[in-house]
Amino acid sequence: MMEFLYAIEHSNLAVAVKESAVLYDIPLVLHGLGMGILVGLSAAICLRILGVASELPLAPLEQFYPWMWFGFWVNAASGVTLYLLYPTKATVNPGFYIKLGAIATAVVLMRKIKAEVFGRAAARTSGPANGKTLAFSALVAWMVALTAGRLMAYHPSTPVELHSAFVVLLLSVLMLAAYAAVRRVRAEPAEGTFHSSALKKEKTAVRN
């Protein structure tokens, strides 16, 4: 199989594209733009499901699914093109498979969100808790896809890939923990303040 991939990699067309300043840059740039559209809009929808901007009505966000799929297909096409330019490099790269697996997971999760959180099924089957799990999982899947996609380029420097993956994971967990801590502090005002007594009055009123 490697001879076949080598033949593609060194075919006249592939070499012409790689030696052309313009032709090589086009799939690269499109891949970055598609990522911004697909992951960006996904992140916005998932953040809303997780409770950011809770006054924003959820249903109209479904209109942006076609925009997301447009980003997906731009990346599928540019991704196949980029693969065919360096097939021997990509096929032996574990990061490539992690990336594709993470993207597939994220797309499946976004489709489930469309069916369960946006669709009529939402009225019957799942409550908001299921939607939040799906949304958080989708964000994690996109994060894995982005990280694997970037670290792919450093193959086969395995120490660099592994060290970087670890630091990305560490920093992500730290940022998430910091965000959760800040939210907890802001939600519960300190005892003895005007806000805490106001909050208590509000809670009593709601209960009665």
């Binding site: 740039v29 970055g32 911004g36 960006g40 916005a44 942006f64 925009w67 982005l146 380029a153 420097s157």
Partner: protein, 169 residues
């Protein structure tokens, strides 16, 4: 003058961090995360101003914007790591020389400035208050649509030219 610029644009402390084996790839990854947050959320706000996604009131949509700003901050911090720490990747090189010779970096910075001035105009012209008062199904006024269009084009250009920076080095 050039010696002055070269001196101030070289940050040995940043170069020291960026020369760790995990630093550059990690910074690149978070640059992409920030890009997605910024482009997706600010882009969503701009698209609504242009008339897509009716049913979303801009006054509520703006509560997503802080995450877009967080994305920008991620890009800014990692971007400063790349520019001020360029000596870690291209040994001996200096940010001043890189900016002078890389046309794509110049164009990226130019479009970031345009996006920034556009944002200033959004607030100074009071357009932010105007779109805040719009209902979920209302059309934004022409000035708001212009600002939204310039924003989308600028950030798209930032992504395009940013991706091409390694080509122009």
């Amino acid at each position: 003058m050039t010696a002055f610029a070269r001196y101030w644009l070289k940050w040995p402390s940043i170069e020291h961090v960026m020369s760790k084996d995990w630093a550059w790839p990690t910074a690149e990854t978070f640059h992409f995360v920030g890009l997605c947050l910024l482009f997706g959320i600010v882009g969503l706000y701009d698209l609504r101003m242009l008339g897509f996604g009716k049913g979303l009131p801009l006054s509520a949509l703006k509560r997503l914007l802080p995450w877009g700003v967080f994305g920008f901050v991620l890009c800014l911090v990692t971007g400063l790591g790349f520019t001020l720490g360029i000596g870690a990747n291209l040994y001996g090189d200096n940010a001043y020389d890189v900016i002078r010779r890389d046309v794509y970096l110049q164009l990226k910075l130019l479009f970031m400035a345009i996006a920034g001035l556009n944002l200033l105009a959004f607030y100074l012209t009071g357009t932010d208050k105007v779109v805040d008062r719009l209902g979920a199904y209302d059309e934004a006024p022409p000035l708001a649509k212009t600002i939204a269009g310039i924003s989308l084009v600028s950030w798209t250009a930032v992504i395009v030219f940013g991706r091409l920076i390694p080509v122009g080095l």
